[in-house]
């Protein structure tokens, strides 16, 4: 308490210094007078009295000095002096300051941005969830080791038996049609168990959440819904009266019982959901009937679990595996060979983090490269500055300043640069963070566009800036301050260190060059693969084709009604001006939405025991191949007569024929699926289904009129002779007119859909190129700085050379040659490093080898050209040195 009071008074002592100084002077003066008076009284002459008193008093100034130290807080005062002096010094060398701050801001901004993305997608994938690192994903494994969703019954058995798991919940992401007959909107929701929110530790912002007893018992008995905070805000204007209100979901009335907190977005990393319904309502909402939850083969759910306290993921996984083994034995008819595993969220196959892992990894590596260059650049700048200030330091040291005081001064200046740099970096990061949305697939699932720039990211940015600025600044000035003062005084603080420090600066410039080469080569390889992938022909013609997707599940049609609806809409569309062809299918190729498959049996083909006979397929309408310009090589297209009443038929692709049929005719062969035998009536050309860079895989088509699945997707394809835009609005208008209660979404041209499928390549190539550009400019700047400085240092020498008859073009060549040597060394080292490093990128490359000689040569030449450019200006300056001025300068 008393100490606190004393410190408070000392802090107050920092103010009103003049008044306090005057008071002290008065006190000393009065005490001195009394002393003299006493001396006179003791019999001295006045002069002797004064002399003796002064002698006894000692140094008044030193007394005042120690008094002042006690009055204020010396450290704080000298810090304030340092800050003011530092600001003045930084202002004096404005170009250094601007360069240092800009460099630092770029490095910090880029790293903070990528860090915030990594944090959102990988480190903190489930905002709003309590102790999210204990929440793990449970995935079922097929006999061939591939992952699958989990059936409701398997989930229940695992939930009831696993002791190492505290709680387990299903979640099934689904598109819901929310609204009345006037307007229906597609909202993404999750069908979850009653304990879902409790397991995640999420508390309602309003109302209540489901209770296990209430919703896990009977199917289709509890039409309850919980809304997201964002949806509540945008659709109900944050009205608390919404609790208990009714809302129609897929035409069924549901009661709103709660609202989630603002930060909660659901259980899939990077995605945001707006509604939650009980999993026991799934059968009703998806029109799949009660069997969905009672059939072990209906593997459709995603399972999340929270580990029991003190249990490691490995222990829990072992228990899950052992239970899954028991289930594979007990329910052999459905589960034979199946297993299950637990995965941390970031390894789970749901959400967008999986597809982002590769690009983010490459991005982080590129950012680290940029940061290294920033460090080298800043160290270079600081070194140049420290060398330039050597004179000042030597003077201050010889006038009695302590080394620690000088170092404190340097630290203060570095901190000022760091503060400005981190502020700049944060500004850059807050501007860049939104750009994550540009790189996310424009798919129908709502991606989490909002990336929070939270305390963690800010802390990261500031720490980074300070670490870089302080380390580089300290290292540079220690070299100068640490020397012998006498020696430095003799040389006038100039020449002694120049040879040493310019070698160090050359080394820094070399490493910057090398790092830039690595970044550029990585970017070059990614750009090349992006180009290669974009050049791949998808096997269909996307020109002049627009697509709209419809959510039929909202309408609860049966097969008859659905067929009637397709035909009605097709006829309406065909009547529109500019429309040349209309077709529909359940899947849009390359649309990222994941396809459907059917287990097939092909008469005359005996699969090997481990062979995966789940073959991907499309349900299509007649005319689809024509519209997409996919050639049919053998047999015929579907006809409108191929319907429920006709014998089942299918068309297969060339790869299907190659793998299962061989050289014989495919047409007429029998294939079993959906419980009946289909006859192959045609062979279509291979085309790309999921990714442009996939290799051909067996694929088949069946008429939509023969197979009906209530949960399937529906996409209308329109080929137009008019512009895509007018076709898009026609499609949207007619689809809405045909059935106002069916949500229409993702209306876009087919070529846009294809570019969406390139997003992984695009994000890697685009961002890494930007970062490589930053790296390149920083390295060029670094080399420019070194050469300019070196020319300035050698002005004297160059002047003498010219005075002695050296030709100016030789001087020019000499400087250029010096810079080129630095650059060439850097390029060589960088090329070797890139040779080793790019091997790690092999998974991200397509059609180009990691050691692609073209890219390596192109990048080396580009870097050399830029290095020459960076040396050109200093070389010109050297050439123009006036010998008279240079000699006088000394």
């Amino acid at each position: 308490m008393r100490t606190l009071r004393a410190w408070f008074l000392r802090a107050a002592g920092l103010f009103h210094k003049e008044r306090r100084d005057r008071e002290l002077a008065d006190e000393i003066e009065s005490n001195l007078r009394m002393h003299i008076d006493d001396n006179v009284r003791a019999g001295m002459t006045p002069a002797e009295a004064q002399r003796q008193a002064m002698l006894k008093f000692g140094s008044v100034e030193s007394a005042k000095e120690s008094y002042r130290d006690q009055r204020g807080i010396p450290l704080l005062e000298s810090l304030w002096q340092d800050v003011r002096f530092g600001l003045r010094m930084l202002r004096k060398s404005a170009s250094f300051t601007a360069l240092a701050i800009l460099t630092l801001a770029l490095g910090v901004g880029a790293n903070a941005t990528v860090f915030s993305w990594v944090r959102t997608l990988l480190l903190n994938p489930l905002p709003g969830v309590v102790a999210a690192n204990h929440v793990v994903a449970l995935e079922t494994l097929a006999p061939d080791g591939s992952w699958e969703p989990t059936s409701y019954l398997d989930f229940r058995d695992l939930r009831d038996n696993c002791k190492s798991v505290q709680a387990m919940s299903v979640t099934k992401p689904m598109a819901l049609a929310v609204g009345d007959t006037e307007s229906v909107e597609r909202v993404w929701g999750e069908a979850v168990s009653g304990n879902f929110f409790e397991m995640l530790g999420v508390k309602p912002a309003l109302g209540r959440f489901f209770s296990t007893a209430e919703v896990d018992q009977q199917q289709n008995a509890r039409p309850l819904v919980i809304l997201s905070h964002a949806y509540w805000l945008s659709h109900y204007h944050a009205d608390p009266g919404v609790i208990g209100a009714s809302v129609r979901i897929n035409h069924f009335p549901y009661t709103i019982i709660g609202v989630t907190p603002e930060e909660f977005h659901g259980s899939m990393p990077g995605l945001s959901f707006d509604a939650w319904v009980p999993a026991t309502m799934y059968g009703q909402l998806a029109s799949t009937g009660d069997n969905t939850l009672l059939d072990r083969k209906w593997r459709t759910f995603r399972v999340l679990a929270r580990l029991a306290p003190g249990v490691s993921l490995g222990e829990a996984r072992a228990e899950v595996v052992s239970h899954a083994k028991d289930m594979a034995r007990d329910d052999a008819n459905t589960n034979e060979g199946m297993s299950a595993t637990l995965l941390p969220m970031w390894e789970s196959h749901y959400g967008i983090q999986g597809s982002m892992l590769g690009p983010l990894g490459i991005l982080m590596a590129a950012c680290a490269l940029v940061l290294l260059i920033v460090c080298a650049n800043l160290a270079n700048l600081q070194l140049a500055r420290a060398t330039a200030r050597q004179k000042e330091f030597v003077l201050r040291l010889s006038l009695g300043a302590s080394r620690s005081r000088l170092i404190r001064q340097v630290l203060t200046e570095c901190s000022l640069v760091a503060v400005a740099g981190s502020l700049g970096g944060i500004a850059i990061a807050s501007w860049l963070k939104g750009t994550l949305a540009w790189f996310l697939p424009r798919s129908s699932v709502p991606a989490l566009g909002h990336v929070p720039l939270d305390i963690g990211v800010l802390f990261f940015a500031i720490t980074l800036a300070f670490a870089v600025a302080l380390v580089s600044g300290l290292a540079a000035s220690l070299r100068v301050v640490g020397r012998n003062t006498d020696e430095m005084l003799k040389t006038g603080g100039r020449a002694s260190s120049s040879a040493h420090s310019s070698r160090l600066r050359g080394l820094l410039a070399t490493s910057e060059m090398a790092l830039a080469v690595v970044a550029m080569i990585a970017a070059g390889l990614l750009l090349e693969s992006f180009r290669n992938v974009s050049k791949i022909r998808p096997g269909f013609d996307a020109q002049q084709v627009v697509v709209a997707q419809l959510d039929l599940s909202a309408a609860s049609y049966d097969a008859q009604q659905a067929n009637a609806f397709y035909q009605r809409l097709q006829q309406e569309l065909e009547r529109q001006p500019g429309v040349t062809a209309v077709s529909y299918a359940d899947y849009v190729p390359l649309s990222l939405s994941g396809g459907s498959w059917e287990k097939l049996e092909i008469r005359g083909y005996v699969p090997t025991p481990s062979e995966d006979m789940d073959i991907y397929r499309s349900l299509i309408s007649p005319g689809y191949f024509n519209l997409m310009k996919i050639p049919i090589f053998e047999g015929r297209d579907f006809r409108s007569s191929d319907d429920m009443n006709a014998p089942p038929v299918m068309i297969v692709n060339q790869e299907f024929v190659r793998r299962f049929i061989g050289t014989g005719t495919a047409v007429g062969r029998q294939v079993h699926g959906w419980g009946s035998w289909f006859t192959i009536i045609g062979v279509a050309a291979d085309s790309k289904v999921f990714r442009l860079n996939e290799s051909p895989a067996p694929y088949f088509y069946v008429p939509m009129r023969q197979i009906y699945r209530p949960e399937m997707g529906l996409a209308f394809f329109v080929h137009t002779s008019a512009s895509n835009d007018s076709a898009l609005s026609t499609l949207q208008r007619e689809a809405r007119a045909a059935a106002p209660t069916i949500p229409v979404f993702d209306v876009m041209s087919l070529s846009d859909e294809i570019s969406v499928s390139l997003f992984t390549q695009r994000i890697s190539a685009g961002l890494v190129s930007v970062l490589a550009g930053v790296a390149l400019s920083l390295a060029a700047l670094g080399l420019f700085g070194v050469m300019t400085y070196s020319v300035a240092q050698r002005t004297n020498e160059i002047g003498i050379r010219i005075a002695l008859g050296a030709q100016r073009k030789h001087v020019f060549a000499m400087v250029l040659g010096q810079g080129t040597r630095v650059a060439l060394l850097g390029i060589t080292i960088g090329t070797l490093a890139a040779w080793a490093v790019t091997r790690l990128m092999i998974g991200a490359l397509y059609g180009v080898k990691p050691g692609d000689p073209g890219t390596f040569c192109a990048v080396s030449l580009l870097l050399l050209a830029i290095a020459l450019l960076a040396c050109y200006v200093p070389a010109r300056r050297a050439m123009r040195v006036d010998p008279m001025v240079a000699l006088k300068y000394e």
Partner: protein, 115 residues
Amino acid sequence: MTAAKSDVRQGTLALMVLKTLQTIGPLHGYGIARRIEQTSGNRLVVNYGTLYPALLKLQQDGYISSEWDVSDNNRKAKYYKLTRAGHKQVEKEVGEWEQTNAILARFLAPDQETQ
């Protein structure tokens, strides 16, 4: 000045100042210095470079307070006096000193220890 005189040991000056003010009452800096020197039988020298900061520190700690007043021979001077906390502090420190002294005395006189 003879070699026998020594500077006041650090840390003890504060106690001497407090004790002086307790004995004499309000006093100015010069008076405090003289009084300490006299009490020590001129064996101590009070350095003003140490005295003023010590007085300031005691003020900051709240043990003494100061005000300007006129001295016996009509000079304006800054007078220091003990506060209530200062009185308590003197008692406390004196007690501590006596205890320390007693302990030290036993150490420094080993002959007595064995008895």
